[in-house]
Symmetry: C2
Subunit: 434 residues, 2 copies
Amino acid sequence: MDHKDSVSIRVFSLNCWGVRYLSKHCSQRYAMIGDMLLQEEHDVVLLQEVWSEKDYLFLRKKLASSHVHAHYFKSGVIGSGLAIFSKHRIQDTLLYRYSLNGYPYMAHHGDWFGGKAVGLAILNIGTLTANFYLTHLHAEYCRERDAYLPHRVVQAWELQQFIRHTSAGADVVVLGGDLNMHPQDLGNRLLTSYTELRDAYAETDNFDGCEDGLTLILDNPFISQKVIAPFEKGIRIDYILFKGSCKADIQCVSMRTTKGSIPGQAFPYSDHEALTAEFTLAPSEAGGDFRSSNRDCAPGDVARLVDILTEARTEVKVGVHCAERMRYTAARTAAMGLALLLLELAIAAVPWLTLGAEQAFPLTTFYLLVALCLAILLCTSLLYVFYTMELKSLQGTEDQMRLSVGGLQEKLRALPLSRPTEGVKPGNMFCDEE
Amino acid sequence: MDHKDSVSIRVFSLNCWGVRYLSKHCSQRYAMIGDMLLQEEHDVVLLQEVWSEKDYLFLRKKLASSHVHAHYFKSGVIGSGLAIFSKHRIQDTLLYRYSLNGYPYMAHHGDWFGGKAVGLAILNIGTLTANFYLTHLHAEYCRERDAYLPHRVVQAWELQQFIRHTSAGADVVVLGGDLNMHPQDLGNRLLTSYTELRDAYAETDNFDGCEDGLTLILDNPFISQKVIAPFEKGIRIDYILFKGSCKADIQCVSMRTTKGSIPGQAFPYSDHEALTAEFTLAPSEAGGDFRSSNRDCAPGDVARLVDILTEARTEVKVGVHCAERMRYTAARTAAMGLALLLLELAIAAVPWLTLGAEQAFPLTTFYLLVALCLAILLCTSLLYVFYTMELKSLQGTEDQMRLSVGGLQEKLRALPLSRPTEGVKPGNMFCDEE
């Protein structure tokens, strides 16, 4: 790409593992990260797991000269942990909170309290409008029996929807973050197929970093053997994805990751490896990048998308069944609690049920049981409300997926004969960036 | 507008007041609504407060021949109550849940359980892409002391953000729904100033309906005198708003509302009046509609927007203070509950504190007090978590508003001298539909 208006930008992404008092060497690591960012002067820095606003403010102060513009996305109880620092003015921001994000009672996993979301920051780089998306999906705690898979699939669905619907005005799109999904995972395929985002690691010829682009590796001293054990060398769950438009071309010139340790430092920046990608942007004359994206409107690609969607719908349906079962259990437990309460009240109200003996049902036991029943009723009611909301979100996503499959199948029927579908712009279903 | 490709569409909007078993004549009214919609054959029907999916399915079945395409937006515990019926294929949908929507413990108001949101349905009408937005904001229960005002302002802010960011690819935009805001309310000004949406009632020369376009009137038998009393004749809180783009012109040809009673029927469709607007859409040659929208980039309009934003920020700050106070109260109550619990345990563990008398601190009282303390701790913890989330949302909105004011003020400084701001496209801040 040799264009006189072309611009080169460097994008940095890191999951900072910033749980105050719990993450090891937290403040020292933030100091290291701040020094490095100040020195490297990336154009855009996308950070995840900056759980404390104090740490954000520390970085903000430190980077005041190198990255004049910054935004911290607030969400959930302690989150969203997403922060962006930029050399270019942030024109506008938007936050989309995922409708599902684990369970509040799984406090040891903590994801629910993080209020996971996707943040959008709109920047003007040269003459181009660039949409930077920054996200962090629900963690995977056990790959074999992943109870959070439906939630993560819903998050991936909402992420692709959000990107597609908000990027129509953008010349270039960059997404960075910890997706908590391996490259070939369902959610990742859903995301990249729908949005046509390209993986910086896969697209560049100039890569320097961990083998296979891994971002969670055994060489990192903060990573326990147990986490990595099932995956041989490590896993790749952090990404920088990108795409251009009919108005701009974007190419990934180089990509690098840290490799577990930092030369001259006692420990690395985080338990995740840091990603840096260098891009060249250039206004395009004849819609170069975008036209090529129309490849997906070929029958083979539409059919592949239908397959991915079908797989995703199955996973969401599993989630629906699970939520229904949990809600039923909550309702049944509430009913038992209520029955027990009524029985107790009946025993107390009707003395002859106590078999004549005064001490047969002592007051202490009575009050304790009433308190127990009320506690059961309160907790199960809250759970019932929570599961109902989970169910609505899962069903809503399934509805949207069904609508999407319907549209794709209609397109598939129309494609082989090359008949234009009445009233439907070609490629409008998922190539709607035009 | 005389264009050979022009299309005429009719849009209908109604808050159905569909609370099963609580709303009067609910099923009869749904039957009436179904009959009317089947007969009228509007192009697009936007319904709110369809709280039961059964009622949606009833309408879906009834309108199977007239409105082939439909979508029900699921959200919250019983909501979102939003349903769309269309003669044109729904290409895609997206739901954005407002981050704030009342309080779960205000169960008698019920808004929180409705999971209020804005739904987007993308339709192809002729050769044009039309974005239909459908929403229902938090109700106003007391205009003088409106505790929900900060929440509604945040909702209006999120609504304008969502519309702006998702409509860049749309040729025409239509928003219908119950905004629960009077025409000159802060949230309404925020919404229309940012999105440049025009009010169908104000724009048409051909209006037939209640005086001043009111949608909640005394003549409606379902409306109590008490609700309307402070407002003389009634209030206008339901709207159909619209705008075109550089690719299409849209004009409101006519608008009408029901007038409290329906000829030949015993009662009206709902406690709200129904809105019907007729539009003419036409592909535009020279970006007619959009160019005229650049008027807002004049210094006077930017200054006006800064004023509205400043007013909105003040309101959000009031919400922040209120949430902080509530969270502090929850924390203090929790601390008192904990202190009481520890005191009790100390008394029980250290017998000489009971002043020697065995009956001084009977077991029953002890257990009851422990149960009470635990209940206080549980409830206040939940409230603390809830208020923290509310606070994060309010602060996040305030941050975004501050960012926006900064951008506008910079634009204002640049405008009088007509200097192009470096790297910033003119009008990109809030005229970013180009």
